[in-house]
């Protein structure tokens, strides 16, 4: 007699505070479970028999449905169902440590900038989404580092030895230091020509002679609006608009082959938040580009009423990023998708996991990048999964979530901020099934409801 139900090897039950989800890796799907369905599945996964469920009951109908979906099966006795793993469940350290997969170093080379944006340097008074693609700056405490040319050469040598793929130069505005920027690009071309270099800039300063800039360099220009009026309002400098457009036009002309050497990021602020589509269309029409998006939300630390929302997150709606394949699911489950592979070098010479994380794990140039990366701290952040993040660890959507994880880290430091990024209130919303996932294609998510009326209603 068949009395047990178990999920398949490649179907993972991820528990939420009250609800749950089945991550079906065989078909790259997510089955959202209402609290009743989640409780039933948890029970089954603990090898408890199902023979107390009446034939034809809602519970049996649900389990039958899962069998039809191919995510589970009935078994005649308790079994141990090993879950799919792509790798041995051990990560060695010390003498057996694998080489880390270094991806990018972000390097703040200046705090100078010709603009005076209201949204910049608001450490502790702003929440950000995708800040690393924008030119937002933290005001770092302490002295500036004073590296020599040899120090820069040694840095590029370390990037080459460690096989970093990308270097992101940021500011302030790197174009506000044209001599320094030109020197850095020259040294990089000589010491590590395979390194891809992104220069993130508001685009207001002086472009280097593009004819002399090597193919390894890409410019990421951050737009604050589409008119002098926008720039006057955002940065107190309407005249900057013409220079920005002129610079981007030049970069576009130099990149006439469409080799991807020009990128545009739109920073949504109070000035432009409601005009996101207009900004996207402008960049598309003028330069033939599809820009990336970043967003900032200044707020007072005290006296604000309720959590403001980012433009990509609707009220009571969860932004969902489908995992494209099984690899991506495991990557999200074992690593911090935002911090993995990265490190930041601030203007103060501090090595940090990211520009927006406080912990410093090395001091340049007294200590080399290589030395800093021999310490355990950056890897701790690389492996800081959603299981480690308060709030996320009880959310069933944690491996299918598009939130910027760094912001969530900040959220733990600043009570209340997290709600700006994540619309869920786990203690209330999930209990009554009021959350509707968004930004996920319909074929990715299916809702599984145990009984009529108890499911997610949005």
């Amino acid at each position: 007699m068949i009395v047990y139900f178990r999920l398949a090897t490649d179907s993972f039950l991820v528990s939420g505070k009250t609800d749950g989800a089945i991550y079906d890796l065989g078909r790259n799907r997510l089955l959202l479970l209402d609290p009743g369905a989640a409780a039933l599945l948890k029970r089954c996964e603990r090898n408890q028999p199902t023979d107390d469920l009446a034939p034809g009951s809602a519970e049996m109908a649900l389990l039958d449905k899962l069998v039809q979906r191919g995510v589970g099966n009935f078994l005649p006795s308790p079994h141990f169902v090993e879950k799919l793993q792509f790798q041995s469940p051990v990560r060695f350290q010390g003498i057996a440590a694998d080489p880390p997969r270094f991806d990018r170093l972000t390097f703040q080379i200046t705090d100078r900038c010709g603009l005076a944006c209201k949204t910049c340097r608001l450490e502790g008074h702003q929440a950000t989404w995708q800040p690393c693609t924008a030119c937002l700056m933290r005001a770092l405490p302490g002295e500036r580092a004073h590296p020599s040319g040899d120090d820069f050469d040694a840095l590029f040598d370390d990037l080459r030895r460690l096989e970093f793929k990308n270097l992101h130069l940021r500011g302030g505005d790197p174009l506000a230091e044209p001599d320094l920027l030109a020197d850095l690009l020259r040294r990089a071309a000589a010491r590590y020509p395979e390194l891809i270099i992104f220069v993130t800039t508001p685009g207001e300063g002086h472009l280097p002679n593009l004819a002399t800039v090597s193919n390894q360099v890409r410019f990421n220009v951050v737009l604050l609006g589409t008119s002098a009026k926008d720039y006057e309002e955002a940065a107190g400098c309407g005249a900057a608009w013409d220079r920005v457009v002129s610079n981007v036009d030049s970069l576009r002309a130099a990149d006439s082959q469409g080799a991807g050497r020009l990128l545009v990021t739109i920073l949504l602020t109070e000035t432009t938040r409601a005009r996101k589509d207009e900004l996207l269309a402008f960049a598309k029409d003028r330069w033939g580009l599809t820009p990336g998006l970043a967003e900032t939300y200044p707020y007072p630390l005290t006296g604000w009423e309720g959590p403001p929302r980012f433009s990509h997150v609707g009220p009571r709606a969860k932004p969902v990023a489908p995992f494209r394949d099984t690899w991506e699911f495991f990557f999200r489950a074992y690593n911090n998708t935002c911090l993995f592979g990265g490190a930041d070098l601030g203007l103060d010479g501090g090595f940090r996991p990211c520009a927006w994380v406080d912990e410093v794990f090395g001091h340049w140039p007294a200590e080399s990048l290589h030395k800093a990366m021999s310490r355990p701290q950056p890897y701790h952040y690389w492996e800081l999964t959603k299981e480690s993040i308060e709030g996320c660890r009880e959310c069933a959507l944690r491996y299918a979530c598009a939130d910027c994880t760094v912001a969530e880290l900040d959220g733990q430091l600043l009570p209340g901020v997290r709600e700006m990024y994540c619309p869920l209130n786990l203690s209330e919303d999930l209990a009554v099934g009021r959350v509707r996932p968004v930004l996920g294609p319909a074929e990715f998510i299916e809702e599984i409801v145990l009984a009529e009326g108890s499911g997610h209603r949005g």
């Binding site: 178990r6 398949a8 090897t9 065989g26 603990r46 090898n47 069998v67 191919g70 099966n73 078994l75 006795s77 308790p78 079994h79 141990f80 169902v81 090993e82 799919l84 793993q85 792509f86 790798q87 041995s88 469940p89 051990v90 990560r91 060695f92 350290q93 010390g94 003498i95 057996a96 440590a97 694998d98 080489p99 880390p100 030895r161 460690l162 096989e163 290589h370 030395k371 990366m373 021999s374 890897y379």
Partner: protein, 503 residues
């Protein structure tokens, strides 16, 4: 051409499972699932399913979907026969070894020993191994070995800032050369600060508190050869006079535990050797509850069985008794893990390690080098064993027949490394593509070395399959009994790291 590479096994409850070597995964198995897989593989599904009257069509369809999905999405159940890429040219091999895999320097600081253990690999029982001699390594050779090793490892140090390197002192009895060892560690630490983890296995008779302090001051990880209580230990581990060594070892350990408790707790472990007459139950109990100081057991090793007449002294009754005792130990260990009870570190290593090996086996994304895709053999150069005279061997256990270089002749001869791999691959791996347990095979150069050749028998492979089947069954029996059974001790990183260092 494809071969099915799966292994069926049953657990204590009678449930069936299937281990699939292509993906490294295991599946709940059933007669219907087996029929469907067989029929899909030989193309007879349409014809055969008409005869499966005992099964509902929906159940058959479900199994067809299951098998098809695993075959198509994950490449499960079958492995293609080669061709496998050739071993890279020496220069390419050198670049890869130096950048990716070099991890341990082994210095044979002496070939002498103050004991005459009856099963010693350098005794007359093992004619193919080197003999015990009075040769010792000079500081000059040790210094050159350290310099050469770290020069060899330079690309790896540059690429991998987290990599540390084991420096192992081997013998004979390494503590006969304790002054040399201290000098070598100091030298290596000064030249390569923060990179050296020194380790050694000793017989314990020379580990006085004074010597222990010399080692503790240098953070040396020490493993003591300890075969069990007095009768067990003294049966084989004896001085030239024939007197047992248990009491001198314990005298040292008692003092170290009392005078240097941190060193004893954090740096001292045991390795234990057994043969057919070992009273496994008594030894396990000894490591569990003896009032004597018994450091946790890292390894339990069987007295080597190849190229030896050591086992001629044992009869079938010894083997029978031993098998019964091991069976008891396995059941006792499984029961304790299921119920969350404590167990001895001896049982942990004897029974638990093969089970943990099943748990930690490689999966799809843990490929071996494509030119040596099978067995547990390392790439020579992963470890570098330097003899007292400066010869470079694959490891401390592969000696004599397959040297891979000499300090006096430019170090590692990567052309020779290529030859050793090719020789091994041609001799040992010709049928591995059809083997269902390649991800769990521990066969390597040391277990297949004979005079000038590598060789194995079908019985060797059959034994590997049988051991794997038993370990998988143990693991699944435990997990069925207690799905959250705690293997944390086995999977603890520090513990595993120590095992690797003493390999």
């Amino acid at each position: 051409m494809e071969h099915r590479v799966t292994l069926k096994f049953s657990v204590d409850s009678g449930n069936q499972y299937l281990y699939d070597d292509a993906t490294g995964m295991t599946f709940v198995w059933s007669d219907l699932r087996e029929r469907v897989l067989s029929a899909l593989l030989d193309g007879s599904l349409g014809e055969r399913r008409a005869t499966w009257n005992n099964y509902a069509p929906a159940d058959i369809d479900h199994e067809v979907l299951f098998i098809s999905r695993w075959r198509q999405k994950y490449g499960a159940f079958v492995r293609k026969v080669g061709p496998y890429p050739p071993v890279p040219p020496p220069a390419e091999l050198e670049a890869w070894i130096r950048k990716e895999i070099l991890m341990q320097l082994i210095l044979v600081v002496t070939e002498d020993c103050n004991l005459r253990c009856r099963y010693c690999a350098f005794s007359d029982h093992y004619p193919l191994n080197r003999d015990r001699t009075t040769k010792s390594m000079t500081f000059d050779i040790a210094r050159r070995a350290v310099d050469y090793f770290f020069e060899l490892a330079r690309p790896e140090m540059e690429r991998n800032p987290r990599r540390l390197f084991g420096v192992t002192f081997y013998g004979g009895e390494p503590l006969l050369e304790v002054d040399l060892i201290a000098r070598v560690i100091d030298y290596a630490r000064e030249r390569f600060p923060g990179l050296v983890i020194p380790v050694m296995t000793v017989n314990g008779t020379l580990l006085s508190p004074e010597v222990a302090k010399t080692l503790a001051d240098r953070d040396v990880h020490v493993s003591i050869s300890l075969d069990g209580p007095t009768a067990e230990h003294d049966r084989n581990r004896v001085f030239p006079s024939g007197q047992g060594s248990y009491e001198p070892v314990m005298r040292n350990l008692r003092r170290i535990r009392e005078e240097m408790p941190d060193f004893f707790a954090n740096y001292v472990t045991s390795v234990s050797t057994y043969d057919c007459r070992t009273d496994v139950e008594a030894v396990s109990e000894f490591f569990f509850s003896s009032p004597d100081p018994t450091p946790p057991v890292l390894f339990v090793s069987k007295v080597a069985t190849r190229n030896t007449d050591y086992y001629d002294a044992f009869g079938p009754e010894d083997l029978e008794k031993h098998i019964a005792q091991v069976r008891w130990l396995r059941q006792d260990y499984k029961q304790r893990v299921i119920e969350g009870d404590r167990y001895s570190t001896y049982a942990q290593s004897y029974v638990g390690l093969p089970i943990a090996t099943c748990l930690l086996r490689g999966r799809m994304a843990n490929p071996r080098p494509p030119f040596l895709p099978f067995t547990g053999a390392c790439i020579p150069g992963t470890k570098l064993c330097v003899t007292a005279e400066g010869q470079l061997d694959v490891c401390e256990r592969v000696n004599g027949s397959f040297p891979i270089g000499h300090l006096d002749s430019g170090g590692v001869d990567f052309g020779r490394v290529k030859q050793v791999i090719e020789n091994y691959r041609d001799s040992i791996c010709d049928k591995c593509h059809a083997c269902p347990v390649t991800r769990l095979c521990s066969m390597c150069y040391s277990t297949t070395e004979q005079e000038g050749v590598f060789a194995k028998t079908p019985e060797d492979c059959a034994e590997t399959v049988a051991i794997t089947r038993g370990s998988l069954a143990d693991y699944y029996s435990i997990k069925e009994g207690n799905p959250s059974a705690d293997f944390s001790y086995e999977t603890d990183r520090t513990y595993l790291e120590r095992r690797l260092m003493f390999l």
